[in-house]
């Protein structure tokens, strides 16, 4: 028997050719499928919660998001009960403030965004033909962080500690002066923390889509839902950092009196609005685009024809994703921005209607061309189109400046946003729940009951929210807890409240049907809708037995035998080749197999890490400092333990994925998925820093002289010294890393003491660099509480300090791995990824030093 040899590109391309025989032949070795099932088996009992695979985490995620939908919905019902009659005293004004704030916050942050990611976590591996997403423990961490943080955040309502400044938390209302309790702090720390969980999910989704697609699933064969999730995940990476930066700045103001948003001390409340809406407007599309992706997936199935204008819709998705970032200021038309700026944003707001409309026309054309089958998902989709188009039209209306000036902060806006969000996201989500429910236990929800659910929801929704347009046009402001009978708003509010009851009955019927379905015995999913996408191949924990070879955009339609072939194990990687959990990694454009990636198994570590992180943030809010830091330490230890396990040397170098095809196990450098995940994480990091830099420039532009009279720049020697040391540290680290790349295993081992010394010296350089920067500012008398300019400088300095601290931890971890002999040429992801973080910290430090020390001097000219 000859030794296995890694497959060449030519061999792989030949094996993937349409006319080539299937990658694996029959009969399969005895026990292959049993071993695969054993490896992926979901633990029973309480240990179920330690499972990390996408099916279990996805289901938990969806259920939790639906729980928050119900909880926020109950708050919505309370709002409607209060407003049903004029001069109502059902709910006190202060409590009402907490209720509407929590309703909006929970709906947006704990339901809408999480369910988008939850559905993706559940569906994507199946659709892509992967065994699982590439970082299962990260998915589990993101889920538990969201659940623990979200539930704790919601419980603040029961103690009267819930935030009460509206879901977008505008200062000065939310400043310490006007919101002195901890209510606003819960929002700031809780939401910031939940956003981190959303970003973790986005990184997982991007890497999953780019590197775990089934062989042959090129970009033009990617399901449209996958395209929409790729665009959305990229949007999350660029949009969410702005709110993370915003919440950090507002919390710093509240906790330490750094006056970023206090106009009297050189700050600007409008700065918060910029940061919030730079996240907040793309967020609307972050919620809508996955729903649009679901719609584009369901409509061809329902019409039994291919999607009309696939390529145009992909372009439209990318167009909406980009254009949505230019609309942030259309929420600020009454904030006092300049006339020209307002008009630019107004025009951009109208322009986004073009790519959105392209999608709608694509759906209509697909329905027109096909033979539409009447079903509950279809009714929900029709409801979605009707409601969403109305919401879109009122969106164009409020993009017109004079109209917006009239209806801003009235119930017209409340109606518009509910038409867009419920129409654009909740109706497609319900269609999706009906459509994909058979993946859970093979059973479909009741068609008869489904039509009632859809009808009641449609009527209830329109009865609830359409009258709000009129109430708004009549001048009813949003967020008032009651109104006088002689305002003439009584009828419209009563209609809205009656509509809410109808809507609630519809939603309640849905949940009754779901509980009925869960009680049914499980059966094999037999693709009841005759869909074309691969999630219908199987509903096992590992997706399908073998990873399908894809030759078209609609694999199940174009190859009716695919399901049988896959289940027989005739496609790629039919067993557990490495003996553990794994998935096939492919190239990002042509989806050529590159290597087999071992995946970590079930563990409590993600749960522990998430619980520790949540404890740190939440306990710090109520000033329980010691328990908070204990939580923080638990989180750090759990994460280090988890990371330690995932960069091990692979048990074998090559494994068989096809009859004559062997691929390497794991990858290093740019071929490694963790390298790309680190790059994306650093993009997030850089965007957070950019938001802080924007705050600094924004505040500087408000000044007559910069720096302001009671502040000064440090002497030039300090930033120069700091940048020099940062660069020296980075160069030293990189020299060490590159030298170690070229060594044999024996030489690598002998090099370890030098490597450790080099890392220690590089770390000393970084620490001294920070000390120089910090010392220079101290010497110049930097006082962050004095005015906003100093506060923004101090914020950037603190952010750099945080990075130095993280580098110190990372360097310690690297040294520990070196001492333990875990740093080898084949397990060096830790080294490569820390290298990326190191260089980023250098870059950030130099940019901050330039901005603080050079820009004010340039402004003098």
């Amino acid at each position: 028997m000859t030794a296995p040899v890694e497959a060449t590109r030519e061999q792989l391309e030949a094996a993937m050719h349409k006319d080539a025989p299937l990658p694996n032949s029959l009969p399969r070795p005895a026990g292959e499928i049993e071993k695969l099932r054993a490896v992926w088996k979901t633990p029973k009992g309480l240990r179920f919660f330690s499972s990390v695979n996408n099916v279990n985490i996805g289901l938990l995620y969806i259920c939790t998001a639906l729980l928050f939908f119900v909880l926020a919905g109950i708050l919505g019902v309370m709002i409607r009960a209060q407003l049903a009659l004029p001069d109502s005293e059902l709910i006190a004004a202060g409590t009402y403030n907490q209720i509407f704030t929590m309703h909006g916050t929970v709906m947006m942050f704990l339901f809408a965004i999480p369910i988008v990611e939850a559905i993706a976590v559940y569906l994507l591996p199946g659709m892509l033909g992967a065994r699982d997403l590439p970082f299962p423990r990260l998915s589990a961490y993101a889920y538990w962080a969201y659940t623990i943080g979200g539930l704790a955040f919601f419980c603040t309502l029961f103690f009267g500690l819930a935030p009460d400044g509206g879901w977008f938390m505008y200062p000065p209302l939310t400043s310490k002066e006007f919101s002195p309790g901890v209510n606003a702090d819960f929002w700031l720390l809780g939401i910031g923390f939940i956003e981190i969980s959303a970003i973790a999910g986005a990184i997982e989704i991007i890497i999953g889509i780019l590197f775990t697609r089934a062989p042959g699933m090129t970009l033009r064969r990617m399901p449209i839902y996958v395209w929409s999730m790729l665009v959305v995940a990229l949007m999350i990476v660029f949009a969410f950092p702005a709110i993370i930066a915003g919440t950090m700045l507002l919390e710093l103001e509240r906790a330490f009196d750094w006056p970023f948003f206090i106009a009297a001390r050189g700050g600007d409340p409008v700065l918060w609005q910029h940061l919030f809406w730079f996240f907040g407007h793309p967020e609307v599309y972050i919620i809508f685009l996955p729903a649009a992706g679901m719609v584009s997936t369901m409509i061809p199935t329902i019409a039994q024809t291919k999607l009309v204008g696939y390529r145009t819709i992909v372009v439209a998705l990318i167009g909406v994703g980009t254009l949505s970032f230019g609309l942030w200021a259309h929420h600020m038309f009454t904030a006092g921005l300049g006339a020209m700026e307002l008009n630019f944003v107004s025009a951009a707001s109208m322009a986004v209607a073009i790519p959105t409309a392209i999608q709608v026309f694509g759906w209509i054309a697909t329905l027109w061309r096909g033979e539409v089958r009447h079903s509950t998902p279809m009714y929900f989709l029709l409801g979605f189109m009707f409601i969403f188009i109305l919401g879109g039209l009122t969106g164009v209306m409020v993009a017109v400046l004079p109209f917006d000036w009239q209806v801003h902060d009235t119930y017209f806006i409340v109606a518009h946003l509910h038409y867009v969000l419920i129409g654009g996201m909740v109706f497609p989500m319900f269609a999706g729940l009906y459509y994909w429910m058979p993946l859970i236990n093979g059973n479909t929800l009741s068609e008869k009951l489904g039509r009632w659910v859809c009808g009641l929801m449609f009527v209830g929704f329109n009865l609830t929210f359409f009258p709000m347009h009129i109430a708004g046009l009549l001048g009813m402001p949003r967020r008032v807890f009651t109104y006088s009978a002689d305002m003439g708003w009584g009828l419209w509010n009563m209609l809205s409240s009656i509509g809410t009851v109808v809507l609630v009955v519809g939603i309640a019927l849905f949940f009754i049907d779901v509980f009925r379905l869960i009680g049914k015995p499980a059966r094999r999913n037999d693709n009841p809708w005759q869909a074309s996408t691969m999630e219908w191949l199987s509903s096992e924990d590992f997706s399908s037995r073998s990873i399908p070879q894809v030759h078209s955009r609609d694999p199940l339609w174009d190859n009716p035998q695919l399901s049988k072939e896959v289940e027989e194990g005739r496609h790629w990687l039919p067993g557990a080749a490495t003996g553990g959990r794994e998935t096939l990694m492919t190239s990002p454009v042509r989806a050529l197999p590159t290597h087999v990636q071992p995946l970590p198994g079930d563990s409590w570590l993600p749960f522990l890490a998430a619980a520790g992180t949540a404890a740190f943030f939440l306990l710090l809010t109520v000033e329980l400092v010691v328990p908070a830091f204990i939580g923080g330490v638990i989180a750090i230890v759990a994460i280090i333990r988890w990371l330690w396990q995932v960069d091990d040397k692979p048990a074998s170098e090559l494994v068989q994925v096809g009859d004559h095809i062997w691929l390497p196990v794991g990858a290093v450098g740019k071929a490694s998925h963790s390298w790309w995940a680190t790059i994306i994480m650093l993009i997030v990091d850089a965007t957070i820093f950019s938001a802080m830099l924007f705050a600094y420039i924004h505040v500087s532009m408000l000044l007559q002289v910069c720096p302001p009279p009671n502040a000064a720049l440090p002497q030039q020697i300090w930033p120069l010294l700091s940048c020099g040391l940062l660069l020296a540290g980075s160069i030293l680290f990189e020299v060490m890393r590159r030298r170690s790349l070229r060594m044999s295993i024996a030489a690598h081992r002998a090099f370890q003491p030098w490597l450790r010394a080099g890392v220690i010296v590089a770390l000393i350089f970084v620490c001294v660099a920070f000390a120089a920067e910090f010392g220079g500012h101290r010497q110049a008398g930097l006082d962050p509480t004095a005015q906003a300019w100093s506060a923004t400088v101090a914020a950037m300095l603190a952010w750099q300090g945080f990075h130095v601290l993280v580098l110190a931890l990372a360097a310690g971890y690297l040294l520990a791995r070196s001492w333990a002999g875990q740093l080898t040429p084949t397990s060096r992801s830790t080294f490569d990824n820390i290298g990326l973080m190191w260089h980023y910290t250098t870059l950030q430090g130099c940019v901050a030093a330039f901005a603080v020390n050079v820009l004010p001097r340039m402004m003098e000219f």
């Binding site: 033009r220 372009v315 020209m340 025009a347 990002p588 590159t594 390497p664």
Partner: protein
């Protein structure tokens, strides 16, 4: 097998018109915000507001660049297979061009910083 595909450069290249639109929007927004707050707001060149002349000049430049990108993408589409990426280049260039032209309309309708 180590792949040699360059996904992100290709994505960046295809998305360039939309990125250009985003830079254009942020650029004209920031420029108008800063310039309208200075004495430059009252400067006129041959009877035209200086700010408006600069904004229109920049717009013309961006439109020319976008037309160039569109032409290149259209030529690629004509000469190669009708794949997703070649088609997307054209579609994205059209969207970028519409975005820039549409965003620039207020410049033609407004006399200066104050409408």
């Amino acid at each position: 097998m180590r792949h040699t595909e360059r996904f992100f450069p290709a994505l960046f290249d295809a998305s360039a018109p939309l990125i250009l639109w985003a830079l254009y929007l942020f650029g004209v927004y920031a420029y108008a915000a800063v310039a309208c707050d200075t004495a430059f707001a009252y400067t006129f060149w041959s009877g035209y507001a200086a700010i408006k002349v600069i904004l229109l000049g920049v717009t013309a430049l961006v439109v020319i660049v976008l037309l160039g990108i569109l032409l290149r993408a259209a030529r690629l589409l004509k000469n190669s297979q009708q794949g997703l990426t070649t088609f997307a280049r054209v579609g994205i260039a059209v969207l970028g061009l519409i975005g820039v032209v549409w965003t620039a309309v207020p410049m033609l309708l407004m006399t200066s910083c104050i409408a």
